[in-house]
C-alpha cells in the first residue's frame, strides 16, 4: 500500500543519519594511531591491520550495518585502520554502475591518498589510514571526508541511473516516432 511505501522510505531515510553518526563516532575512536615499527622485520614499518601478524596490535573489528546490504567494517590496529564499505545496489543496473564507478576510483587511489587499490573481501570499496596520514592531515577533516564520501557515492550512483533512464526515454521516443506519424 502507499502508506507502507511512504513509511518504508521514511524509515530508510531515518536510518541514514544514525548510521553515519555511528560510523563517525567509531572512526573517531579508532583513529588514534601512532608510529609502530615492525616487530617482525628489522627497519620495516608496515600497517599492522594489513599484515595481521601480531594479535596484540589488533583491535576487535566493528561492523556497522544500516541494513543487510549497506554496511561498514572498521578494522583497527596500533598504527593503521582499514575502513570498508558495502554500497547499496538495488538492481542489476545499480550493480553495474557501482562496480564501474568503484573500479574507476580505485584505479586512481593515489589521488585519494587514503583509498585502497582493492576492496576488502565482501565489500565494494576500502580505505587504509595510517599514522603517517594523521600526522599530515587533520583527523576531524579526514573523518568528514570519509563520511561525505559514503553519502555522495550513493547520490552519484542514483544520479547515473536516472541519467541512463532519461537517455533511454529520449532514444525510445525518437525510435517510436517512426511508427507513429
Amino acid at each position: 500500500s502507499e502508506f507502507h511505501l511512504i513509511a518504508l522510505v521514511f524509515y530508510q531515510a531515518n536510518t541514514l543519519r544514525p548510521y553515519l553518526n555511528t560510523v563517525r563516532h567509531t572512526l573517531d575512536a579508532s583513529l588514534c594511531l601512532r608510529n609502530f615499527p615492525s616487530q617482525t622485520v628489522e627497519r620495516h614499518n608496515k600497517p599492522e591491520v594489513e599484515v595481521q601478524s601480531s594479535k596484540e596490535l589488533l583491535l576487535n573489528p566493528v561492523m556497522i550495518c544500516r541494513n543487510e546490504q549497506e554496511k561498514c567494517l572498521i578494522e583497527s590496529s596500533i598504527n593503521s585502520v582499514r575502513v570498508s564499505i558495502a554500497i547499496k545496489q538495488a538492481d542489476e543496473i545499480e550493480s553495474i554502475l557501482c562496480h564501474k564507478f568503484t573500479s574507476f576510483l580505485m584505479q586512481r587511489s593515489e589521488q585519494f591518498i587514503v583509498m585502497r587499490r582493492k576492496p576488502a573481501k565482501g565489500y565494494d570499496l576500502s580505505f587504509l589510514v595510517t599514522h603517517m596520514h594523521l600526522e599530515r592531515m587533520w583527523k576531524h577533516k579526514l573523518i568528514d571526508f570519509l563520511i561525505e564520501f559514503m553519502e555522495d557515492i550513493d547520490k552519484e550512483i542514483s544520479g547515473m541511473k536516472i541519467a541512463i533512464n532519461a537517455r533511454a526515454r529520449i532514444i525510445a521516443s525518437e525510435y517510436v516516432k517512426q511508427f507513429c506519424p
Binding site: 533512464n165 533511454a168 526515454r169 525510445a172 507513429c180
Partner: protein
C-alpha cells in the same frame, strides 16, 4: 543530440558522385567495408574504357536474400545496370556507363549507394506486402545478416512479429539493453500505435519456440516487436 545513421553508404555515394562530376577519369580500384560484414569493390575493370564503372558487393546472407525476392527487386530498381553474373568473389555487381547513364545522373549516386539497403529490404517488403494484401502465410523467414546475429520475420494474419537476435559481448550490455527496451515498452503508455516489444536473454522467445532455424539461443538476447498493418501501410 541524436546521431541518426543514413541508410546509404556515404563512401559509395561520393565515389559515384565524383565520377560524374570529375572530367578526369583515373583508374579506379577501391575496396571498403560497411556494417554487418559487407564489403564493396568499385573499379574500372577495363583500363581502356574508363567510362565503365563496376560496383560489387559481398555479404554472407546475399544468397538467402536473393531467395526471398532480392533478385527481382534489384532488377526493377537497377534495370540494365544489374549484372547477371557478379564479379568474382562478390555476390552482386552493377555496371554503370558514365557516358550512357540509364537515367538522370543526379539520381544515381543515391540509388547506387543504397544497394545494400535495397538488397536487405527485399524480405521485409515481401512479408509486409503480403500482410497488407492479406496473402501472408505462417512461414517464418530467417535473415542471418551477421555471423552470430539474425532477424526473423513471423507473419500472423494482420500482424508481423519481427525478432532481432543480438549477441552481447558482455553481460552488462544485456542489462543496459533491458533498460532501453523497458523505456520502449513504456512509450506505449503515452503514445498510440507503438509496437509491443519484448526482450528475452539467453532463452528462445515464445514466437520461435520450435523453430529449427533459430540460432545462438544460449548466448544471445532476443528483441521481439509486433507490427500491424497500420504500421506497414
Amino acid at each position: 543530440e541524436m546521431i541518426l545513421l543514413e541508410f546509404n553508404n556515404r563512401i559509395l555515394f561520393e565515389i559515384i558522385e565524383q565520377r560524374f562530376t570529375n572530367e578526369k577519369r583515373e583508374l579506379l580500384d577501391v575496396v571498403f567495408a560497411d556494417f554487418d560484414g559487407v564489403s564493396f569493390h568499385v573499379s574500372t575493370q577495363d583500363g581502356e574504357k574508363r567510362n565503365l564503372v563496376t560496383v560489387s558487393m559481398s555479404w554472407s546472407c546475399c544468397s538467402q536474400l536473393f531467395q526471398l525476392g532480392a533478385q527481382q527487386d534489384l532488377k526493377k530498381i537497377y534495370g540494365p545496370m544489374l549484372q547477371a553474373q557478379p564479379e568474382a568473389k562478390y555476390d552482386v555487381s552493377l555496371l554503370i556507363d558514365l557516358d550512357n547513364p540509364p537515367e538522370d545522373p543526379k539520381n544515381l549516386p543515391l540509388k547506387i549507394s543504397n544497394l545494400k539497403r535495397h538488397v536487405f529490404a527485399a524480405p521485409f517488403k515481401k512479408v509486409f506486402g503480403d500482410i497488407v494484401n492479406k496473402s501472408a502465410g505462417n512461414q517464418i523467414v530467417s535473415i542471418d545478416y551477421r555471423g552470430n546475429e539474425s532477424i526473423y520475420l513471423k507473419p500472423e494474419g494482420d500482424s508481423c512479429t519481427v525478432i532481432f537476435s543480438i549477441a552481447f559481448s558482455e553481460d552488462a550490455d544485456a542489462v543496459f539493453a533491458k533498460v532501453f527496451l523497458q523505456e520502449f515498452a513504456d512509450a506505449r503508455k503515452s503514445m498510440r500505435g507503438v509496437p509491443a516489444v519484448k526482450f528475452t536473454y539467453r532463452e528462445a522467445p515464445l514466437e520461435l519456440e520450435n523453430f529449427p532455424g533459430l540460432k545462438n539461443v544460449e548466448s544471445n538476447g532476443f528483441v521481439s516487436m509486433v507490427v500491424f498493418d497500420q504500421h506497414l501501410n
